[in-house]
Amino acid sequence: MSFLNFLISGISLGSIYAIIALGYTMVYGIAKMLNFAHGDVIMVGAYICFYAVFSFELPPIVGILMAIAVCTVLGIVIEKLAYKPLRSAPSLAVLITAIGVSYFLQNAAQLLWTSSPKVFPRFFNFGGQASVSFFGGQLSVSWTTIITIITCIIIMLALTWFTGKTKRGKAMRACSEDKGAAQLMGINVDATISMTFAIGSGLAAIAGVLLCSAYPTLVPTTGSMPGIKAFTAAVFGGIGSIPGALLGGLLLGIIEIMAKAYISTQLSDAIVFAVLIIVLLVKPAGLLGKRVNEKV
């Protein structure tokens, strides 16, 4: 049963990576930039939820909704202030700005909330139980794990519906293919980019709460490592591809947990990145990425 246990933990961790990777990949798809501050939005979401529940004693669901609201607005503001003025700047300038925003968020969090670790509360208890047993107690799965996986499935279904069936979602795909042509259709490209940042950041808030429910130590740098891993997952699956983000996230989570369990805890990250390098050598566009020639 331990293999099954590891697999489920891997899928759960992978679900969190996938939710974060969706933000990277959607923003990359439309703005053609890597928003390195995305990981830190996760951390902000976790803090908002933490304080809402701890200091203001609001119910967890309200805390989660507040985190989503704050991060959504934060995403829109970051895009407006930091990235929009650089829309036609060289990509190196945008990259450096994104790293700057990342440090800014981490330092702002340190000022606001100090660097002493917060212990994130356990939300997901049902009937006084933190986990459920299967097979007469041989397999025990925490509610956090179950809820994480279910949330990831719901988000994937919702996004697939949004980009495939709704007018705004289709417009988003049109913008990621050709902004000029999208404008000729009457699509407001600025508003669409803004909306994409909003969605990605809202998802980051959810990922933040799920991440801290599983790994409860919350510090201002909490978002950076998962951010980098999720970025890796997005590249792994094929940056710009929504199913790619899911696949990349899940595989990364599973490989990481398996490497920890069967090879070495210290080397697990090195193994994860080694797998990434091998995949990119064989498939430079990632697992589900398309090689699209960028038009000038």
């Binding site: 049109a174 293919e177 000029g180 999208a182 404008q183 259709m185 009457g186 398309k290």
Partner: protein, 235 residues
């Protein structure tokens, strides 16, 4: 009354002065063509009218409203549509989705009806409705680009080299459709390198050379003009 009036525009790409003091107009119900060699500035002119590029001087008016500074995406609702150079359809979306994007500014209730109208002009698109646009042939992609532009029910349809890269038989078909659209009430601004084909369907024409308009007249006049014959009609 001029539906579209372009007055003394100057457009630059950085230091490159691409459009030099260009003026022209399109009256309601006309087919007007802008001909010129590769690099003359035809696409730059259309993109400036569409608001994707800006002129440093002069003005552009549409139905007597100054649209020089109107955001590109808002011009569609005024009744301007462009079939851009190189078609620029959404290659990863289906034929139907491309048409739906063309109807982005239209009320949802009209979309089905308008798609049917487009399918009447281009029956090939109906057969390909669920296909990914990137898998269409060049001619079909041109038809999709035109159908997509029609979805916004434009008063003025601007076409940038619709004959580019198409076999003669397809060029003929496309030009026939342009004439049908015109008969059904759409004003046309047609940009072409294929001067023969363009001049023979145009009411009026302008000749663009290195960013300047060097000649204008009716389609017939220009077809007969010795300079035009020599420079654009192969003798």
């Amino acid at each position: 009354m001029a539906l579209l009036a372009v007055n003394n525009i100057n457009v630059y790409y950085g230091a490159i002065h691409a459009i030099k003091d260009v003026s022209f107009h399109v009256d309601e119900g006309e087919i007007v063509t802008l001909i010129g060699a590769n690099g003359a500035g035809k696409s730059t002119t259309l993109q400036t009218v569409s608001g994707l590029l800006r002129s440093k001087t002069g003005s552009i008016t549409f139905e007597d409203k100054n649209i020089s500074n109107t955001a590109a995406h808002k011009l569609v609702t005024h009744g301007l549509a462009q079939v851009p150079d190189g078609r620029r359809i959404f290659l990863q979306m289906t034929v139907r989705e491309n048409l739906e994007m063309g109807a982005f500014t239209q009320p949802a209730a009209n979309v089905e009806r308008d798609i049917e109208t487009v399918f009447e002009y281009f029956p090939r698109l109906k057969e390909r409705e669920k296909q990914i646009a990137g898998t269409l042939s060049g001619g079909e992609q041109q038809m999709l680009a035109m159908g997509r532009a029609l979805m916004s029910n434009p008063k003025l349809l601007m076409l940038d080299e619709p004959s580019m890269g198409l076999a003669p038989i397809l060029v003929e078909q496309i030009f026939e459709i342009i004439q049908n659209l015109h008969k059904n009430g759409t004003t046309i601004l047609l940009v072409e390198q294929n001067a023969q084909a363009a001049l023979s369907i145009a009411d009026r024409a302008y000749v663009l050379e290195t960013g300047k308009i060097i000649m204008s007249g009716t389609g017939e006049e220009l077809l007969k003009s010795p300079e035009i014959k020599k420079a654009y009609l192969g003798g």
